[in-house]
Amino acid sequence: MTVPVTSYLLVALILFCVGLYGALTKRNAVIVLLSIELMLNAVNLNLIAFAKFGLHPAITGQIFSLFTMTVAAAEVAVGIAVLIALYRNRETVNVDEMDTMKR
């Protein structure tokens, strides 16, 4: 008796929804970036669940999740650099005060 694949999919779905809610409502840009990481991680969990329980179980899902992880790390590095440059110029990290292009 093993844990069914739907349980893993459900955990990943809840994580994705929490991350989406955080990305839509939080004000601090660092937390918005972190919520996006949470969504990427939920997708990784799905990929690995299907690598074991899918219709054609293969190692490909794990390799794809490794690539996703690499891209996520690059995204965080560039995002933090942009945030620090922005903080130096505008003295804010709140996403609703970054509205220069709207004014």
Partner: protein
């Protein structure tokens, strides 16, 4: 074999709990620490799914590098920033409704789909998991692998250039 169920229950509870605490905390540093717990427990779920190599990379990259990088980002900007409690309630409500609708749709989709029987899943083969991943990465996926290393190099140089002080000019 109910030990597997107990492990899955504890790990998923901690995972979801960390994420929900991330939403409900008000101090920014607390949010990052609770999300670090979530990342660690997701690594535990990866171990349960026979993906040991990905689990170790998850601990190294997410709970190690990304959480610390986020803490650095907070310390270098506003270190005692607090999310205001009652703020933009209308927007929060709209976002909540949108996310709840997404949840219900995907949940119904998961429940309605026929999934292959987990008992029919092949038992883990004799080859160890890192060996399998190494063989696949360096034969079939060697070009994406090299491209990803190039992407990491470009992102690193770009991040250093952007975060550098511009006093030199």
């Amino acid at each position: 074999m109910s030990g597997q169920f107990v492990a899955f229950f504890i790990l998923s509870l901690l995972t979801i709990g960390g994420a929900v605490f991330m939403i409900s905390f008000t101090r920014v540093v607390h949010m990052v620490v609770s999300l670090g717990i979530t990342f660690l427990c997701i690594a535990g779920l990866f171990v349960m799914l026979d993906a040991e190599f990905v689990a170790v990379s998850q601990v190294l990259v997410y709970s190690g590098a990304i959480s610390i990088l986020m803490l650095f980002g907070i310390m270098l900007t506003k270190k005692d920033d607090v999310e205001p409690k009652a703020h933009r309630n209308k927007r929060k409500l709209i976002s909540f409704l949108l996310v709840a609708a997404l949840f219900v749709f995907v949940f119904l989709g998961i429940q309605a789909s026929p999934w292959p029987n987990p008992e029919a899943a092949p038992q883990p083969v004799e080859q160890s998991n890192p060996k399998q991943i190494g063989l696949a990465v360096f034969t079939r996926y060697v070009i994406p692998f090299e491209l990803v290393s190039l992407l990491l190099l470009v992102a690193l140089v770009g991040a250093i250039l952007m975060a550098k002080k511009e006093d030199g000019k």
